[in-house]
């Protein structure tokens, strides 16, 4: 260590120095931190890939609801004494089926009734979560970590489960990626070409539920958006080319997750706060870059247009 604790955090007894190598070694010396980084990496990749399609399809509200639903899932599972991971996945996938089952018609009008359904599902799910928590009896710390995330105490078994679920979700996404992209960008032409739009969007909602369940185990049920929406939203502002923005999304997601975990380790404040803050910074920065690039292109276009 080159220098002593600059920003020593009293709670965890760790010290942040100027030597980045030593800091990283200190970070990875503890097994639970290694597991946190493994889980964060898996989650960031899945959330980036599925979130990219979600932002393209404008299904943020559905994604948020699926994430929120994992809270009663986890608290119910704890109440019943089974594993919280099973609760996360079961609840999110069940809610995805409910939302997919709502009949919808083409045209804007039906959206209002659909969003009322989603809102109802979300509020009722949260009410059930409140019920389970109060039935279980006072465990305030556990409640905050369910809602706002924790990186402590991720077991090897949980990492394996996350990895298997992530691999399955990514494989399924790869399977439907082309028709899904087609149906998202131009639903009318896709339908005319015989793309099974209904099936594709149902499968996608299930994948979204799966991703939301994975992410909420790290960021907490309320802050899933940080990894699901923000990287994709930032990347889609930076470039219109699908493949490039997909790659940027995943890179941004990884950066946000790793930075968030590392900073949270050296501080007393919750990991969810850092992850959302870094995600939001990326989003705002990309919006500024886009605006600046647009202005530059316009002024260049003007200069070229004047002599002609």
């Amino acid at each position: 260590m080159v220098s002593g604790g600059l920003a020593a955090s009293a709670a965890s007894g760790t010290a942040l120095g100027w030597n980045i190598g030593a800091d990283i070694r200190q970070l990875l010396a503890l097994h639970f931190m290694v597991n946190a980084f493994r889980a964060g990496t898996i989650v960031a990749v899945v959330a980036g890939a599925i979130g990219w399609f979600m932002v393209l399809r404008r299904q943020s509200f559905a994604g948020h609801t699926l994430a929120v639903v994992s809270f009663p899932g986890a608290s119910g599972a704890i109440l019943l004494g089974i594993s919280a991971t099973a609760g996360y996945f079961a609840a999110s996938i069940a809610a995805a089926l409910v939302i997919a089952g709502v009949p919808r018609s083409p045209g804007g009008r039906s959206y209002s009734s659909e969003s009322a359904v989603i809102g109802t599902v979300q509020a009722f799910a949260l009410a059930c979560g409140a019920l389970f928590v109060s039935l279980y009896g006072g465990f305030l710390n556990s409640l905050t970590s369910l809602l706002f995330g924790t990186f402590l105490g991720i077991s090897d078994g949980q990492v394996t489960t996350l990895l298997i679920a992530a691999a399955a979700a990514l494989a399924a996404l790869a399977g439907i990626a082309r028709p899904l992209f087609f149906a998202t960008v131009d639903p009318d032409v896709a339908r005319a070409r015989g793309v099974p739009e209904r099936l594709v969007s149902t499968v996608f909602l299930l994948l979204l539920g799966c991703a939301a369940a994975e992410v909420s185990q790290i960021t907490g049920a309320l802050l899933v958006f940080a990894l699901l929406v923000m990287p994709a939203a930032a990347a889609q502002q930076l470039t219109a080319r699908p493949a490039l923005s997909f790659v940027i999304t995943i890179a941004l997601g990884l950066a946000i997750a790793w930075l968030g975990l590392a900073v949270a380790y050296f501080s007393v404040y919750p990991v969810g706060f850092y992850v959302t803050t870094f995600g939001f910074t990326a989003y705002v920065a990309s919006a500024i870059i886009r605006a600046a690039a647009g202005r530059l292109a316009r002024s260049r276009g003007l200069r070229q247009a004047v002599p002609a």
């Binding site: 509200f61 923000m230 959302t276």
Partner: protein, 298 residues
């Protein structure tokens, strides 16, 4: 007569009287405002406001001012910001989502600051903001909430007709000199106040249920706009009373759960009752338009 004596017995507790007083007014305001929230497809904005309510209340607590000041300020300011965002083209749900996820992250920060810095205070405030504490209202608080909520209800009814016109057909409404933009601001401001008041009753996380669920049920049951609006308020009041009675009868159930459970049951009943009919949402369009144009004075 056992039911009547039961009710009389229940209302002997002052905290239940306060809960019924504030709850009824908040339910009416949420039901009325919620009808337009659903009609204008602004449920996601309502969702965002509910998260803002949490952060605002905790910011007020963490700064040591007061929960109520933070709550109302945050809700109204963000509601107006959302209205401004919506006026500049359609409010992008990705932008709303990114902003409110960050605001919620800030809420988590304020929660930590508040619970770790002040050791003497009760740490349950954060939970109360999230999930509501309608049984914890004092007499004066309940009176204030009831008056604010009734004010919102009156204001929503007062702007009801032009709002309906502007929501159904914005272009024609603005051609007929309805101040569409101003109405959008006023309405979201009112929703912000409703959200702040409802946060104390059902909590920041559940207020979406009070806004969207009764309105969604009412829209399934009738296609006539003003009937749907009052029906939505009625369902909200039924949900509130039902929830409070359930929570009184079974003390291990939190009141917020009772309220949301009754509201969701109402929605499911409405869904079941209209499942046989042909899509009311689509049939609704034509009569809506006709009534809206006929009813708005030139």
């Amino acid at each position: 007569m056992t039911i009547l004596t039961g009710i009389a017995h229940m209302l002997q507790h002052p905290f239940l009287r306060y809960a019924f007083l504030a709850g009824t007014a908040i339910a009416i305001a949420s039901g009325l405002a919620g009808y337009f929230v659903v009609l204008r497809s602004q449920v996601f904005s309502g969702d965002a406001l509910s998260h803002v309510a949490f952060t605002g209340a905790l910011a007020g607590l963490a700064a040591g001012i007061s929960l109520l000041v933070g709550l109302y300020t945050a809700c109204i300011v963000v509601a107006l910001a959302l209205a401004a965002l919506g006026a500049r083209g359609r409010a992008d749900d990705t932008a709303i989502g990114s902003v409110f996820a960050w605001i919620l992250g800030l809420g988590a920060l304020f929660l930590t600051i508040y619970t770790s810095s002040s050791s003497g205070v009760d740490a349950t405030s954060g939970v109360n903001v999230l999930f509501g504490s309608i049984f914890g209202l004092s007499g004066s608080q309940a009176m204030t909430d009831a008056l604010i909520a009734l004010g919102v209800a009156v204001a929503v009814v007062a702007i009801g007709r032009p709002m309906l016109f502007a929501s159904i057909d914005e272009a024609v409404a603005s051609a007929r000199r309805v101040p569409v933009r101003l109405l959008g601001f006023v309405f979201l401001g009112l929703v912000g106040v409703t959200a702040a008041a409802a946060t104390q009753a059902v909590g920041a996380l559940l207020l979406l249920g009070l806004l969207a669920t009764p309105a969604g049920a009412a829209q399934r049951l009738t296609t006539r706009p003003f009937r749907a609006m009052w029906l939505s308020a009625g369902i909200a009041v039924v949900a509130m009373w039902g929830g409070l009675i359930i929570a009184y009868a079974a003390p291990q159930l939190p009141p917020s759960f009772g309220i949301l459970a009754v509201a969701t049951s109402c929605y499911l009943l409405a869904f079941a009752a209209t499942a046989g009919h042909r899509r009311p949402a689509q049939r609704a369009t034509a009569p809506y338009r006709a009534t809206a144009q006929a009813e708005v004075p030139r």
